[in-house]
């Protein structure tokens, strides 16, 4: 058994279902994330991609299904659970607190404190400057005290990405992370996923841009109407085939 855990997928989901009142957002979805892989999660609007991502990060409670991590049964019911599994998420709706400064957003729920819970503000501010400089190289953001609510959509997205990348540990979930980014920044993010894979961090990449997906993903899962309709490796498919799959359903 111990030998098995080396090859077991990082995450293995079986029979995942989610209903919102009468809407069935997900039904009976199996999904696994391997070590050292970039997984593309594709599908039309409303296919259930974000719901699946949110279940993995513990923000949405699944209705049915089981989850295994490294071959052992586990549970994800809140953000604390997913953090323990090393999951970091860039949400489609960005998830930043508008009236707070960039550094406070960067370290929210992971504050650097002394043992009485008082913030090590200078340290967090300085590191935030570093993160912003190195990370996605966000243009026009250099003041860590600036309020997030006053940033442009792309700058906000860049802050959310920088945060997730900085705190990544095992699995990075990216839900349409580049929708508001410039071409250069988008390329940076794509390159990140590949670099991180070399470091041993797997990614789940949700996108509507099949060219981007094909550029970085090792495997594709296609969803339609809350179900998984395809699970293919890059070697076994083409952009044309993926396009047909998505459009046909």
């Amino acid at each position: 058994m111990p030998l098995d855990t080396n090859t077991a997928p990082l995450l293995n989901l079986r029979g995942i279902g989610k209903t919102y009142g009468r809407t069935e957002a997900l039904s009976d979805v199996d999904l696994h994330v391997n070590q050292n892989e970039v997984l593309g999660l594709l599908g039309d609007n409303g296919a259930g991609k974000s719901t699946l991502i949110k279940i993995l990060s513990g923000v949405v409670d699944r209705t049915t299904g089981d989850i295994e991590a490294d071959g052992t049964p586990t549970d994800i019911r809140n953000r604390q659970d997913s953090a323990k599994l090393g999951i970091e998420t860039i949400y489609q709706d960005i998830a930043l607190v508008g009236p707070m400064s960039i550094w406070r957003n960067m370290y929210l729920a992971r504050e650097l404190c002394n043992r009485f819970g008082f913030l090590r503000r200078r340290e967090m501010r300085d590191t935030t400057v570093d993160i912003l400089r190195k990370g996605v190289e966000i243009t026009g953001v250099d003041d860590p005290e600036a309020e997030v609510g006053g940033l442009s959509g792309g700058q906000m997205q860049a802050v959310a990405i920088a945060r997730a990348v900085h705190f990544r540990s095992k699995i990075l979930l990216l839900d349409e992370p580049t929708s508001a980014l410039s071409v250069r920044e988008t390329e940076n993010v794509l390159k990140y996923m590949v670099d991180l894979r070399e470091e041993g961090v797997s990614s789940v990449f949700v996108t509507h841009n099949l060219y981007h997906a094909f550029q970085v993903c090792d495997r594709f899962v296609v969803m339609a109407h809350g179900r998984k309709i395809a699970d293919v490796t890059k070697a076994d498919t083409t952009i044309e085939e993926l396009t047909k799959l998505i459009v046909a359903h």
Binding site: S57, I94, A95, G98
Partner: protein
């Protein structure tokens, strides 16, 4: 003309400590109101110096009255502010104020040592806050409605328990001086108020819990998605509001040596007014301890000035209303610009 140069927008010159402090101050949501407060105080002081006989602002008696009045609303406002910043309201703080005072007085009358009476009163305050929070969060009802309900229930309980009679409270002298004694030209309760303002400042600006309070009020969904425990954080804020309301009830009861069931009525709205004047956002997520101090102080300074120039009592509320609306407009205009 709209091209005003606010120092905060200029690049900070590194090493210039004063500049850094100034730009930090300009970032504080209470900056505008603090400036207004300073101007009002300056005007009052100048007026008091120029016309010491007609405008007795600086007289010992008036200073005493003013410094005594501010903490009553100030204590409550500190708690309400933390709760408002967390994105919730508490309309039951006035009733909690009264119930805490009554509890303390009743226990004391029954022979319980005063320290335990105080602890019982504070415990009741916290318990009311936690019940408000639990109902609000568990059943996803707006706290405005929940606490409107608890306010009415508590008012009923108070009248049932004590009728309309005033209950005396004459504690040992040491207790009296600890909470309300005279220290130089200040009273103990004003120092307590300053202490709580500083505690709130440490909490909101320097502590992890305060960071979480700001986040759940600023964007609850995002805070949750990032990993903040929204339930715990909001429960803390509700508890703080109840605690501070009880604290105010305890101090006021000690000061006047009695508690009457109708005391504390209207304090809930005055506290919210003080907070809003102090730049604390009605929508949550924005506000500072400095703002509470400025808001509470400004309300009572305006009342005080009106009394000094002989305005009839029924004008007072109208003027608070005026200050409130003016402050909201001023803060709104400044925020849009800055």
């Amino acid at each position: 003309m709209t091209d005003t140069h606010i120092p905060a927008q200029q690049p900070e010159t590194s090493g210039n400590k004063l500049g850094t402090i100034w730009s930090a101050f300009r970032r504080d949501p209470a900056a505008n109101i603090v400036i207004i407060l300073v101007l009002v105080q300056a005007a009052c002081i100048i007026g008091g110096l120029l016309y010491p006989d007609d405008f007795r602002y600086l007289s010992g008696l008036n200073m005493k009255t003013l410094l005594r009045a501010i903490p009553q609303i100030g204590f409550i406002a500190v708690g309400v502010a933390i709760l408002m910043i967390a994105g919730e309201f508490d309309l039951s703080v006035g009733a909690t104020f009264t119930l805490a005072g009554l509890t303390m007085a009743a226990f004391y009358a029954a022979g319980v040592p005063v320290v335990f009476c105080v602890m019982a009163a504070l415990a009741i305050g916290v318990a009311i806050g936690l019940v408000n929070g639990f109902l609000t969060l568990t059943f996803a009802i707006p706290s405005f409605i929940v606490t409107l309900g608890t306010m009415m229930i508590l008012r009923g309980v108070i009248l049932y328990a004590s009728g309309t009679a005033t209950m005396p409270f004459r504690p040992e002298p040491w207790f009296d001086s600890l909470l309300t004694g005279q220290i130089g030209f200040l009273q103990a309760q004003f120092l307590w108020f300053l202490g709580f303002v500083i505690a709130a400042w440490l909490l909101l600006s320097w502590h992890r819990i305060g960071n979480h309070v700001l986040s759940v009020g600023g964007n609850r969904g995002a805070a949750n998605a990032i990993g903040v425990n929204v339930f715990k954080t909001k429960m803390f804020a509700f508890g703080a509001a109840g605690f501070m309301a009880a604290m105010s009830g305890i101090v006021s009861t000690t000061r006047v040596n009695s508690v009457s069931p109708i005391q504390g009525q209207g304090l809930e709205l005055q506290a919210i007014a003080a907070c809003v004047i102090g730049g604390i956002a009605l929508t949550g997520g924005r506000g500072s301890a400095l703002g509470v101090f400025a808001g509470a102080t400004l309300i009572y300074t305006v009342q005080n000035v009106l009394l000094l120039i002989g305005a009839p009592g029924y004008y007072l509320d109208a003027f608070i209303g005026l200050v409130l609306v003016a402050a909201v407009i001023a803060n709104g205009v400044m925020n849009r610009r800055g």
